[in-house]
Amino acid sequence: MSKLNLTLKVWRQASQKEEGRIETYDAKDIPIEASFLEMLDIVNERVINDGGEPIHFDHDCREGICGQCSLTVNGIPHSKDRGITVCQLHMRKFKSGDTIWIEPFRAKAFPLLRDLIVDRSAFDRIVAAGGYIDVRTGSAQDANALPVAKTKADASMDAAACIGCGACVAACKNASAMLFVSAKAAHLNLLPQGAPEKDARVLGMVRKMEEEGFGNCTNFYECEAVCPKEISVDNIARLNRDFAIASAREALV
């Protein structure tokens, strides 16, 4: 198998308080069949052997479903290849001699913990502000007793594909979380089970999103382009509409 010789420009930052900087690494003899994270593993082993501090990065399932890996590759979260997380990026996409810039997901609402790891718990707090339904457990009705239109079920399922990786925020020029919030809201708002709490959900999640310090959507659609689950910006239009209606109802009814 052929091997690649690459130059890595990696963001290193010991902690939130310390200043970060770009450091350069020579990544020699990288097998093209390696994944991007495996390439970092190889580089890290060499760093450790040389007595250095390995490059810290988030990862878990390494099969594109957990949403843990969060690298910005050459300025694009999860790389410029569409519909994949960075763990699904393979080194065969690169050429020998390439320089690869690796940075964390940058946003004020995602404080940096170390090197390439950021704290994305703001997403959890947004979900806790309305991204759920209140049901009594133990007495679930028959699944088929509640009719759901096929188009709505499909749209809800597409929105539910969001893995909460945060690439939408990282890619947005305004660090807006609208794609994430709109997907989480649409996923429940479109179904009869989510309908009774729709207004409270929309207002609660949007207000929490603002409180966490995310930016505002200005319709660049960068989020949709980098989303590993290809969540549609249709959800953002839907959230805008639902927010207007919920606000009016809150004020007037």
């Binding site: 410029k80 660090a175 980098v226 239009a237 927010f243």
Partner: protein, 260 residues
């Protein structure tokens, strides 16, 4: 503060609320541009129709119509600008650390320079109002006071600097609209996967039509010599009227402009 006014404050404080304000005021301004362009196109129909149209605008609803409209226009503009500047500030604050290697997938140049194209259009707007509405130039004011709005417009555009700045501002307006018109639909929640393509095309087409329409006037007047001869005749007429006014005091500028 009552509950309803509290809600209004909360709506303005929220990001989506503010964007809805931007979208609705933007829609108003977009529709205004279409009306303004349609009116302006009368310039090619001839001086008489254009002057009649100007006269109509200044006298509709006993002269109150234009003021009502101007106040609405300024209100919409103020809200549009205040909201977008506040949103832009929040957006800058949301990413304090920039990417060392910045890159873009799909966002258009127009969408990324909205605030700059917008602020340039604002500067143009102020200039445009001083130029043709307040009329800081004595020569233009004189033509308009004698009821020759067509001639005033032609005279204004004969200045190369004015025409070049006008064309530059209209080009930025075209860029602003190509993103702005489509964004109105998205922010009002009227865009979907099925309509996305049509909205995008409509937005760009609208921007190009507005651009072509508006720049056609300075191009025709400044670079193709449209209206040159007639303007000379009007200036001669104004000179005669002025002389008559001085001699006989029979026709002051005010009554002349109201004669139509």
């Amino acid at each position: 503060m009552s509950k309803a006014t509290c809600s209004l404050c909360q709506f303005w404080q929220s990001s989506i609320g503010k964007k809805l304000v931007v979208a609705v005021t933007g829609l108003f301004l977009v529709l205004f541009l279409a009306g303004h362009l349609a009116g302006n196109m009368l310039i090619f129909q001839g001086s008489e129709d254009f002057d009649h149209y100007a006269h109509f605008l200044h006298n509709m609803v006993h002269g109150w119509g234009i003021w009502g409209f101007r106040i609405m226009m300024l209100g919409a503009l103020a809200l549009h600008i205040i909201a977008t500047i506040q949103l832009t500030q929040a957006n800058r604050a949301a990413r304090p650390a920039r990417y060392e290697s910045d890159n873009t997938m799909v966002a258009s140049k127009s969408s990324r320079m909205m605030v700059w194209s917008g602020l340039t259009i604002l500067v143009f707007f102020v200039f445009h109002i001083l130029h043709y509405t307040v009329r800081t130039s004595a020569e233009l004011a004189e033509l308009a006071n004698h009821g020759y709005n067509w001639a005033m417009t032609i005279a204004g555009f004969q200045n190369v600097l004015v025409s070049v700045f006008y064309i530059f501002a209209m080009t930025l307006l075209c860029s602003h609209l190509s993103h702005g018109v489509a964004s109105i639909f998205q922010t009002l929640g009227l865009r979907s996967r099925k309509t996305a393509g049509a909205i995008q095309t409509f937005s760009k087409a609208y921007a190009v039509i507005i651009w072509l329409g508006f720049i056609s006037i300075p191009v025709a007047v400044c670079f193709l010599g449209y209206g040159k001869e007639e303007l000379k005749e009007v200036r001669a007429k104004v000179a005669v009227e002025k002389a008559a006014a001085k001699d006989g005091d029979s026709c002051c500028p005010k009554t002349c402009s109201d004669k139509h």
